[in-house]
């Protein structure tokens, strides 16, 4: 039984109760996948895992602001929730964690979370920070040249904004007013280096002024505010208004990756403090207060996520690894290697 709503505010434009619950489910599913990755790493079954804990709200909000099958996503390696919310399945996600031959993103070649899903318009990235931001601008340029109704959303951490290629990308986008949303998921840390050692400005969004388009800030731990902020930027891009730089203030709940130990540069107190900002219980309360979610449904959805991730884990683990011959494929479309 759902409890009587305590809050009767109208829903944000574009979001129905069903879509809000779907957003909640993707956040829970992502957390389950994320925890599974680290568990598999600790079990010695996969060599590496990267977390998005603390980023789920902005990622699901951004993905829901886009049109699947029309818009392009050029995400970065911390965007598990964005990818799952944009059509990547748990099985596809686990296949990349296990580096299986059938991993559709890279056939086991890249680190986890380096998505490439051409049929869903998710573009391939490398691990070279901010290089992909220029590619996203090129995709947006092609959309403008061909007068397509699509937009591009590309994401990155605040550390990326120190890279020259990041500046070049935003500069180009500002000149040509291409349909793009630059989404900075600012969790204050680039591995161990705090934002205060990356830039002299307080907000990444302030940098947009240098490129001639708006920079806006949202609470990246609030999925509804994140959705609304990105939706506005998407509408602006789609209607020919050009780029927007969105800065989502969020945090990183865990170490950078399974190979990092955040206690070498962060205090235990700080780590405990950020945990209180967990976007998932926060969104649960928001939905409960509006009568859209109750404890039974929460338990049901968490159980479903666990079933999905268990199925994906067992399935992916049983799949075939790449063979030696797979090393030599997809170097060129045709012709000799050298």
């Amino acid at each position: 039984m759902k409890s009587e709503p305590k809050v009767r505010a109208s829903l944000p434009e574009g979001l129905t109760p069903e879509r809000l619950l779907e957003m909640y489910y993707y956040m829970v599913l992502t957390r389950t996948c994320d925890d599974r990755g680290f568990a598999l790493n600790r079990q010695g079954k996969i060599p590496f895992a990267a977390t998005c804990q603390g980023h789920e709200a902005i990622q699901v909000g951004a993905a829901f602001a886009l049109r699947r099958g029309v818009d392009w996503l050029v995400p970065y390696y911390r965007d598990t929730c964005m990818a799952l919310s944009f059509g990547v399945t748990p099985r596809e996600q686990l296949m990349c964690l296990f580096a299986r031959k059938g991993d559709i993103f890279s056939s086991g070649r890249q680190f986890p979370n380096h998505y490439s899903v051409p049929d869903r318009q998710i573009a391939s990235i490398s691990s070279i920070i901010a290089a992909h931001v220029t590619h996203a601008v090129g995709i947006a340029l092609s959309i403008k040249m061909r007068k397509q109704p699509a937009v591009v959303l590309t994401s990155f951490g605040e550390g990326s904004t120190s890279e020259g290629e990041w500046h070049e990308a935003l500069n180009f986008a500002g000149i040509h007013k291409v349909p793009i949303i630059f989404l900075c998921e600012n969790n204050e840390y680039a591995i161990s280096v705090h934002q205060s050692l990356q830039m002299g400005v307080k907000n990444v969004a302030d940098r947009a002024a240098g490129y001639g388009f708006p920079g806006v800030i949202c609470d990246g731990t609030d999925p509804v505010q994140s959705y609304e902020t990105v939706r506005d930027a998407v509408e602006r891009a789609r209607s020919g208004g050009g780029p927007t730089l969105v800065e989502a203030k969020c945090y990183r709940a865990m170490s950078h990756t399974s190979d990092d130990n955040q206690l070498t540069y962060r205090t235990q107190d700080e780590i405990e403090a950020v945990k209180t900002r967990d976007p998932i219980p926060r969104f649960e309360n928001w939905l409960k207060e509006r009568g859209m979610l109750d404890d039974d449904t929460i338990a049901e959805l968490k159980a479903k996520a666990l079933r999905d991730v268990n199925d994906a884990t067992d399935w992916a683990e049983a799949q075939e690894p790449p063979g030696e011959r797979d090393l030599y494929t997809h170097v060129y479309g045709s012709g000799p290697l050298s």
């Binding site: 392009w72 050029v74 991993d103 559709i104 993103f105 890279s106 056939s107 070649r109 890249q110 380096h114 490439s116 899903v117 051409p118 573009a123 391939s124 490398s126 070279i128 290089a131 931001v133 220029t134 590619h135 996203a136 601008v137 090129g138 995709i139 947006a140 340029l141 092609s142 959309i143 040249m145 020259g164 290629e165 070049e168 990308a169 500069n171 180009f172 000149i175 494929t329 997809h330 170097v331 060129y332 479309g333 045709s334 012709g335 000799p336 290697l337 050298s338």
Partner: protein, 327 residues
């Protein structure tokens, strides 16, 4: 067939590609209003519009990066780096990104991109308008590196490069732009990537080379023919992939090999040519492989004396041939 210089051949090929395929567009510094610093794209912006002939900001990494994105989305960008010396800021985009796009996505994303750039010396270009960059890039799997030396090959290989499904670094020796003239086939004309050309057939020794040095080597070969030395000149045209078959066949036939390039000797393309011959035809040779290359200093200086001392000349190539023939 009409006679054209190499610059005109490049210009005509770019024009044909722009006119016949809407996916093709050109981006680079000064390619629009100015029509490129050598006037290769003069008039293109008036004809094809500012959307397809894009004057970019002065930022080489994003010239390549934006072109990569457009290529991934299905267009056929031709990105220009104004001088090869300016390509270094884009090194990551070419080597780290374009060359690996297909591989890292297991064929899901591709990067059909042509990067054109003028390289090489002999025009008093000083330290930063004269370098050869092929050795920095031909090491990279996933890239193709082409260096045509004749107008016909420039047309044929550029047409092949634009049609190719993978990133191509297309090197145009700037000294050849107006110096080298030749007949160019009309209409669509392709030269296969990865095939060397026998610029001059001979039986006494082989010169393996490419770019401007092909012409210097042929000139040197004509000069020593009067002395009774019959030299073969092999023009690679394609540096990666490299036509090992033609190289080894020529070495086996003449039994003496001189490698000539303008780029620095150490770790240059000549090292790979020499290794290929050593691996496949060492015991066919009558003399050690000889290399005549640019010296191992950073680049040729502005003074005429530096430039002349740096670049192999027809006379120095002829001397090296004589020495090899005498061995």
């Amino acid at each position: 067939m009409a006679t054209k210089n190499l610059l005109e051949a490049v210009r005509e090929t770019l024009h044909d590609a722009m006119a016949s395929d809407e996916r093709v567009f050109i981006m680079g510094e000064d390619v629009g209003a100015r029509g490129n610093v050598f006037l290769i794209t003069a008039g293109f912006q008036e004809e094809f519009g500012r959307e397809r002939i894009i004057d970019t900001p002065l930022a080489e990494a994003s010239i390549i990066g934006v072109a990569i994105g457009a290529a991934m989305a299905g267009l056929r960008p031709i990105a220009e780096i104004q001088f090869a010396d300016f390509i270094y800021p884009a090194f990551n985009q070419i080597v780290g990104e374009a060359a690996k796009t297909r591989y890292r996505s297991a064929g899901g994303n591709t990067c059909p991109l042509v990067i054109r750039t003028p390289y090489g010396g002999g025009v008093r270009g000083a330290l930063s308008h004269s370098v050869s960059i092929e050795a920095l890039f031909y090491h990279v799997p996933g890239l193709r590196v082409l260096a045509p030396s004749t107008p016909a090959d420039a047309k044929g290989l550029l047409t092949s490069a634009i049609a190719d499904e993978d990133p191509v670094l297309f090197l145009e020796h700037k000294r050849t732009y107006r110096l080298i003239k030749g007949e160019v086939p009309e209409g669509r004309y392709t030269v296969p990537i990865g095939k060397a050309d026998i610029a001059r057939a001979g039986k006494d020794l082989s010169v393996i080379t490419y770019g401007l040095m092909r012409h210097f080597a042929v000139e040197a070969a004509e000069k020593i023919a009067a002395e009774g030395i019959d030299a073969e000149v092999v023009d690679l045209r394609s540096i990666r992939p490299m036509d090992r078959e033609t190289i080894v066949a020529s070495a086996t036939k003449t039994r003496r090999v001189l490698v000539v390039h303008e780029d620095n000797k150490f770790g240059g393309v000549g090292a790979e040519i020499s290794a290929a011959i050593a691996e496949e035809a060492l015991f066919e040779l009558d003399a050690p492989i000889k290399r005549l290359c640019g010296p191992d200093v950073p680049a040729m200086g502005y003074a005429k004396e530096y430039e002349e001392a740096f670049m192999p000349s027809p006379d120095r190539i002829a001397d090296a041939m004589r020495e090899l023939a005498r061995f």
